[in-house]
Subunit: 119 residues, 2 copies
Amino acid sequence: MKSLGKHLILELWDCQGLNDMGLVEQALRQSAQVCNAKILDLDIHPFSPVGITGVAVLSKSHVLIHTWPELGFAAVDVFICEDDLDPSIVMPIFQRIFSPSHVQAIEVKRGVAGNGIPS
Amino acid sequence: MKSLGKHLILELWDCQGLNDMGLVEQALRQSAQVCNAKILDLDIHPFSPVGITGVAVLSKSHVLIHTWPELGFAAVDVFICEDDLDPSIVMPIFQRIFSPSHVQAIEVKRGVAGNGIPS
């Protein structure tokens, strides 16, 4: 089914390193690299007492992470607008860096008229 | 069902003004305001020949838009981490600013172990 973008929603459980801004930056930069995408903007924000939000804006796409280190949980979004590129290509990066024991993933096709998304 | 975050996925069709960076900024700022959230970072990138990506990083949440002015389409994501706040509160803002003739919306609960998202 033709779409304008593919949006991968990742839920990472029982992770390590979720309060490490350097690791978050690595994950975002490596994700851009594996997608062969230029980073237009990179923002990484720490929260008090713990938690990080990181976003890499790519050309008509993005990679974004919110972390809950106290729960070992991270929510990751990867939005890719390139026909021949599967956003799940980034999954091994997040698995290697944060070592989740469990990963949930769904892909939502964006920009598909009549794709069954309820109005 | 208890979740760490509520993620609203919006598909806006037959929109106006999608190549106007000022309108994108308005939509992001008004979304933050209606959510009573502080903007930690705001980035708006124009693309050539048309198209805009805009992201507002909020406290443990975000509002993000990718636009395809040539198709009248915009993909919007609103991620909110506050129990008593429904991300759909932003919908009237995007409807007022971009005048879509059709809106598709789904909400994905993030950070819910065993929430039916396939592994």
